[in-house]
């Protein structure tokens, strides 16, 4: 078959829990090009931020993304503290680290389940999500909420971690470590998983660097880029951990990076609970922030999150800019989804390849639009170009409306 049809995936599509439209140009079962349309989720958070106080913005920041919301709240708090120029108590740093790492554990497990669902392995999905509930319980006990923690505040954290809760947390972590190790074994040994993930969604190292990919996506392409290590914030400077990289550049590598990072996060939580100093958990900072600018940055489960904050004095920010990791990784999607030479992409690979960057569009779409890109040197194709190149008549026996 030489004719090409377009198969839209989304915006309402069971594989995508969020609205997005990937138009794949397929030749039979092979994908020859891909186009993304995002922006279904654009809400205009940044503009709203200029009309709200810093404290109000913390809560809307947490709701930029329901999976890694704490990261956005942390970044905003960090940037604000940079402008004010005050250090926060050490104990707060440790509590923030614990919050961030619990979030990473839950997010990576969530992702592993979703990835299993994408390749039709619902049993693994159910098992992983069952064990994820244990983390959710710990989070709920620690912060009071399952999803939006409201832990961060400007100048520290809002809740302390008493000894008995910390001990329970460690017990859960022990159980979880066993389970996660088992899943790793499963992913390495289960043949159908390997068949679906090996060599799929390849993002080569040079592409990952050129396209500024972040997080597990880039670490699975053998680029050791981790904000926690490079730019230690919170308590990461006192807690040793490994930056996980794999060099096979495919979906399997991304699965393994995330599983290993989960194990690493469990270690960080243990270490943080052990080393945590006593003392106050927050300092009171003035509600009016002096003029200045600050950059908040941390490693979300999906990759680097960066907030730029400009204050012109007063209770409201002058400009608040958010960049979520998915936006940085989206550029890699058309590269992963375009067959080139020996590298063949099938329709069946689209959901898992796309899911392998752990897309979180609600973060991304606060201010973004759509994309038409493809791989190779001349790496921007517009829609009409693709149309001209590939879109012939649909192989169909009956005219469609």
């Amino acid at each position: 078959m030489s004719s090409v049809i377009d198969v839209p995936v989304g915006p309402q599509h069971p594989a995508l829990k969020e609205p997005l439209n990937i138009t794949c140009y397929v030749d039979g079962e092979q994908v020859v090009g891909a186009k993304l349309r995002i922006g279904y989720n654009h809400r205009g958070v940044e503009k709203a931020g200029e009309y709200q106080t810093y404290i109000q913005n913390l809560y809307i920041a947490e709701r930029i993304c329901g999976i890694c919301g704490i990261v956005h709240a942390f970044d905003l708090a960090q940037a604000t503290e940079h402008i004010i120029g005050k250090e926060i108590p050490r104990r707060a740093d440790y509590l923030r680290t614990i919050g961030l790492e619990l979030n990473r554990v839950h997010s990576h497990l969530l992702w592993l389940g979703v990835a299993a669902h994408e390749i039709g392995f619902d049993t693994l999905f159910m098992y992983v999500w069952r064990d994820r509930e244990a983390v959710m319980d710990v989070i709920e006990e620690f912060t009071g909420n399952r999803v939006t923690y409201a832990l961060m505040t400007i100048g520290g954290v809002r809740r302390d971690l008493p000894q008995e809760k910390a001990e329970k947390m460690l017990r859960v972590m022990d159980v979880l470590e066993e389970k996660v190790k088992k899943y790793k074994e499963m992913c390495l040994n289960e043949r159908t998983i390997r068949m679906r993930c090996d060599g799929v969604g390849i993002l080569r190292e040079e592409d990952a660097i050129a396209l500024c990919a972040v997080g597990p996506t880039t670490r699975a392409s053998n680029v050791p880029f981790d904000v926690r290590a490079d730019d230690p914030h919170a308590a990461y400077d006192e807690i040793p951990f490994k930056v996980i990289t794999y060099d096979t550049c495919d979906v399997t590598a991304r699965i393994l990076v995330r599983i290993d990072e989960t194990l690493e996060s469990i270690n960080i939580i243990r270490e943080a609970v052990k080393k945590m100093p006593s003392g106050p958990i927050r300092v009171r900072l003035p509600r009016a922030v002096p003029a200045g600018e600050g950059v908040g940055r941390t490693e979300a489960p999906r990759g680097e999150v960066i907030h730029y904050l400009r204050s012109a004095g007063g209770e409201r920010p002058f400009r608040w800019k958010v960049r979520a990791p998915t936006l940085a990784n989206l550029l890699s999607i058309p590269v992963m989804l375009t067959s080139k030479g020996d590298y063949v992409v099938y329709i069946a690979d689209v959901p898992i390849a796309f899911a392998s960057i752990d897309p979180c569009l609600s973060c991304t779409d606060r201010a973004v639009k759509f994309v038409d890109v493809s791989s190779g040197k001349s790496w921007v194709w517009t829609f009409s170009q693709i149309k001209r190149m590939y879109w012939k008549d649909k192989p169909y026996w009956r005219e469609r409306p």
Partner: protein, 158 residues
């Protein structure tokens, strides 16, 4: 000398007076202010001679009397924010996608939100948020009030 100071001195050495301001705000935060004419040269210098490959994001700011376009570059943990001053009467700036391809989306975003024309950008066609977003309405500009933007929604509803 710390890495941050080294970076600042390297930039100052290379560009001299063309750098309007270069400072180390705190550990791993460097801010450099340049005019838009030298902006691309600075980026190119950082990319080719210093070895910065990662652009974290690009912020646009409407600073009332001028625009600022701020790519935040990341190099060994240091965030180098290169502030380019763009006058309001000719909102234009050079693209840096040919130097760092990863800036593609961020430049689109700046274009869309502030109406700053990014010269040489490969694809600045219809970028706006919803498909039917009106021409010339740039939501993050300071002269666009929130109430005005709300009217769009309410009007359509009736």
């Amino acid at each position: 000398m710390t890495l941050e100071e080294e970076l600042v001195s390297k930039i100052k050495e290379k560009f001299g007076d063309k750098i309007l301001e270069a400072k180390v705000q705190r550990a791993r935060r460097v801010f450099v202010t340049v005019d838009r004419s030298t902006y691309k040269d600075v980026i190119r210098f950082l990319r080719n001679d210093v070895g910065v490959t990662h652009v974290s994001t690009m912020s646009g700011v409407d600073a009332i009397d001028h625009f600022e376009v701020i790519p935040h570059l990341s190099y060994k943990g240091v965030v180098i924010s290169v502030k380019a001053i763009v006058p309001k009467d000719s909102p234009e700036i050079d693209t840096i996608t040919d130097v760092i391809p990863g800036a593609l989306f961020y430049e689109k975003e700046v274009h869309e939100m502030f109406g700053i024309d990014v010269k040489g950008h490969p694809d600045l066609t219809h970028l706006e948020l919803p498909e039917d977003w009106p021409e010339g309405l740039y939501p993050l500009r300071k002269d666009v009030k929130l109430e005005e933007l709300f009217k769009r929604i309410t009007k359509e509803r009736d």
